[in-house]
């Protein structure tokens, strides 16, 4: 057993009435890539933010390398060798990459009161090259970079201090294949240098391949720790959820047969960016999956289909001949859309659950010009109970809900509108295993009830597991069609993507 790098004992933390961590003990040894997994609200982010100095525990103690460790701030923790890459955006958009990397540490580049930009940039270049990000320029404003590149800047910033402990929180969701490789390389470097990594992710497969030890949390308690030999998907899932996940995760059938009736047709659909001459038909009761690389155009296609972005060439036609040119037409024709960027585009975060759910259905609830408040409440109540949204009341603001419950609210508003065509863009992103399964079940129930679903996702297993038919977009054009079958594998599909 290698020596203990970080030891945490008896940590408790509450946020008002909510208990986030209950008397948690945790140990990180040198050479470990220690995975941390649990549902939303299980306490993993809270635990790591305490370790990284971002928050203070209510009680408990920590030790690093055998000496007491109680960081006063994130910067303090960093100076003691504990760095964290956070879940949200950790860079300031308006300053340059180099400035972000050395934010707070400009003193080392200051001569006579002025910061030497040349030195700053040169050092930043070294740091970026060090983690393998040679193609990220160091002197441009950070907002010009895409999400993945910004995350890599955060990685560079964290690695610069040559930390003993690196904490990675849900970072891989923002990264593409190449980005992930860089991250894994950095993690591997930490491991080979006998340092420690704490790795949080929702992606169980990824965790199982990257980590050599894993701890499962549930409701603020440590449930158990498994070494690499003990890794088993079913066991871990059960530990996370607290019960056996019965039934299959995705769909139990392999029947990809759909009705003949066409409910939506895309004809020579071309958008302003990334989507070119897409043609397909969506049938009643079909789950039509769309996959591809992040810049393959799948997300833009979703927006075009729903009318949020205008088509430059071609059109989106419904069964009754209506052309979908804007979102309000789409909604009137009972289409629904769940955006990838939930908090920015799909939900009104400072508004109540009721207001969110009722919004698309207001026309239905209006009698003689007035919206019937009683009916509105009924509608919301129904949605909340059907989807089992965990909340205090329908008047609660959605910002206080967990990610999964927010997603349920978004689903709820379309179900209430009796949508018969749903366009879902990464609907299970950032959602726990337990809720994910419930959503897949819901999708299947909707399909059986005659709803047609377009499922856009970057998770291949999800697409393969749920779609009746799967179309792959490459560089904006359709580059492959796959029919549901038990033999369909990721390898087959990836070919069409790259």
């Amino acid at each position: 057993m290698s020596e203990v790098l970080l030891s945490v004992k008896g940590i408790c933390k509450r946020f008002g009435p909510t208990v986030a961590l209950k008397d948690v003990d945790f140990t990180l040894r040198r050479g470990e890539v220690h995975g941390l997994i649990g549902e939303n609200g299980s306490g993993k982010s809270t635990l790591t933010s305490i370790i990284a100095g971002i928050r203070k525990a209510d009680s408990g103690e920590m030790q690093k390398d055998g000496a007491p460790y109680s960081p006063q701030s994130a910067v303090d923790a960093q100076s003691q060798g504990v760095s964290m890459i956070v879940q949200e955006m950790g860079t300031a958009p308006d300053i340059t990459v180099a400035e972000n990397i050395f934010l707070g540490k400009e003193k080392r580049f200051t001569r006579n009161g002025l910061v030497s930009k040349k030195e700053l940039n040169a050092e930043a270049r070294k740091v970026l090259d060090n983690i393998g990000a040679a193609n990220i320029p160091e002197s441009v404003p950070t907002f010009t970079l895409n999400l993945e590149e910004r995350k890599l800047v955060e990685l560079a910033k964290a690695m610069y201090e040559e930390p003993d402990v690196l904490i990675v929180d849900e970072t891989t969701t923002a990264l593409s294949h190449d980005g992930r490789e860089l991250l894994y390389a950095a993690i591997e470097k930490m491991r080979s240098e006998s340092k420690g990594v704490i790795f949080i992710s929702h992606d169980l497969e990824e965790l199982m391949s990257v980590c050599n030890i894993m701890t499962v949390l549930r409701d603020g308690d440590i449930i158990g720790t498994l070494t690499k030999e003990e890794f088993d998907e079913a066991t871990i899932k059960a530990m996370m959820v607290g019960r056996e996940l019965t039934g299959s995760y995705y769909r139990s059938d392999y029947d990809g047969k759909v009705e003949d009736e066409v409910v939506l047709r895309a004809v020579h659909l071309t958008g302003a960016e990334l989507v070119e001459d897409v043609n397909f038909e969506l049938h009643r009761g079909e789950i039509l999956g769309f996959g591809g690389l992040a810049n393959g155009g799948i997300h833009e296609l979703g927006r075009l289909l729903f009318g949020i972005d205008p088509a430059i060439v071609g059109s989106v036609l419904l069964a009754d001949g209506t052309e979908v040119k804007d979102a309000s037409t789409a909604v009137k024709k009972r289409m629904g859309y769940v955006s990838k960027n939930r908090d920015e585009e799909a939900i009104m975060v400072h508004a109540s659950i009721r207001n969110n759910i009722a919004l698309p259905s207001l026309s239905k609830l209006t009698r003689r010009g007035l919206v019937a408040a009683g009916k509105e409440r009924e509608l919301a109540k129904q949605a909340i109970s059907t989807l089992e949204v965990k909340c205090q009341s329908m008047e609660q603001l959605t910002r206080y809900l967990s990610g999964g419950n927010k997603q349920k609210v978004v689903f709820g508003k379309w179900i209430c509108n009796e949508s018969h065509i749903l366009i879902l863009d990464c609907p299970t992103r950032g959602v726990d295993v337990g809720v994910k399964q419930a959503m897949y079940r819901l999708m299947y129930d909707l399909k059986c009830a005659g709803c047609s679903i377009i499922l856009i996702s970057e998770e291949l297993p999800e697409l393969i597991g749920m779609s009746d038919r799967l179309l792959i977009l490459k560089n904006g054009k359709i580059n492959g069609e796959f029919i549901r079958s038990p033999e369909l594998s990721e390898r087959d599909v990836i070919h069409a993507m790259i």
Partner: protein, 311 residues
């Protein structure tokens, strides 16, 4: 959770309580000079213009917009209405023209903001300059008198106020127009992707706002008896101060209510009126108003909103 509910309701009534407190204090000190019927009618007449415009402009604020043109539009409406009256001799024409002009101006402001995608701050300022320019060019420092017309007293104004407040309250809280505007104010992208026609509903908000400005113009013109070029200067700032004082968040959303307009307008009118009746020396009025404003904002401002200013 009961505590949550109580807190939320209390937070909503706080501005009203503030108003009652201020009123009670002035009554205690000023005696029936302040709370007597005669002074109360003065207060109604004095707060009328600001309150009517504030009520209408709340619709625009609900979707996160702002309108700096209301004073100038008021002036232009009054001028054209006065001219029309002089030509036809009919007070009905006066009312009609006042409302028509105001609605048209607001409509244009709305179109420029929504269709040309110009920030409302800028488009309403442009409208302000244009309207002022027209008024100054046409009037050339002269004025138009309508002194023969009898100015409606509080007996007419109070019902009009109540009616307008009730109407906009219903629109804002119980119709698609209000709810859609509030949704737009919350998150325009989410509203759009929920199927709200964001352009159409924002323009409707401007139309409603224009209507109230027209009504205010009619009553203002009659009260002054004269249309001169300096009518309405500073009205837009007074209205914004009034609604902010009443607790409105200028970024809009579901927290927008009529209450802010009503309470805020009453507060500033009562303060000017009350401070003079009680006899506070003018040199101190400024400081006292400043302190009062600060305190009032502290307890009306809803801090978990995204911010006071439009995005």
């Amino acid at each position: 959770m009961e505590l949550e509910k109580i807190k939320r309701n209390l937070s909503g009534i706080l501005p009203l309580i503030g108003l009652l407190v201020v009123f009670a204090l002035f009554s205690a000190v000023g005696g029936d000079q302040f709370y007597g019927a005669r002074n109360l009618t003065l207060i109604i007449n004095q707060c009328f213009t600001i309150m009517v415009v504030a009520i209408g402009v709340t619709m625009v604020h609900a979707h996160g917009g702002i309108d700096f043109s209301v004073g100038a539009v008021l002036a232009l409406s009054e001028m054209l209405a006065a001219m029309a009256y002089k030509r036809t001799g009919s007070p009905f024409v006066l009312l009609f023209v006042a409302v028509l002009v105001a609605v048209l101006c607001s409509f244009i402001t709305g179109i420029i903001t929504v269709k040309l995608r110009i920030p409302p701050f800028i488009s309403s300022l442009c409208m302000q300059f244009t309207c002022r320019g027209i008024v100054n060019t046409v009037l050339q420092s002269k004025s138009i008198g309508v002194t023969e017309l009898h100015a409606p007293g509080w007996g007419v104004r109070l019902p009009v106020l109540l009616l307008l407040a009730a109407a906009v309250y219903v629109i804002l809280d119980y119709t698609k127009i209000g709810k859609h505007n509030k949704a737009i104010g919350e998150n325009i992208k989410a509203a759009r992707s929920s199927g709200v026609d964001v352009d159409f509903y924002r323009i409707i908000a401007y139309l409603i706002s224009g209507f109230t400005v027209g009504i205010a113009a009619y009553f203002d013109l009659l009260r002054n008896g004269v249309m001169s070029t300096n009518v309405g200067y500073g009205l837009e700032m007074k209205v914004i101060i009034a609604v902010v004082l009443g607790g409105l968040s200028l970024s809009g959303g579901y927290t927008a209510t009529i209450k802010s307009a009503v309470v805020g307008s009453l507060l500033i009118t009562i303060m000017t009126n009350g401070l003079m009746i009680v006899g506070v020396p003018v040199t101190y009025i400024g400081i006292i108003q400043g302190i009062i404003f600060l305190l009032v904002i502290l307890f009306t401002y809803k801090r978990d909103r995204q911010g006071l200013l439009p995005r």
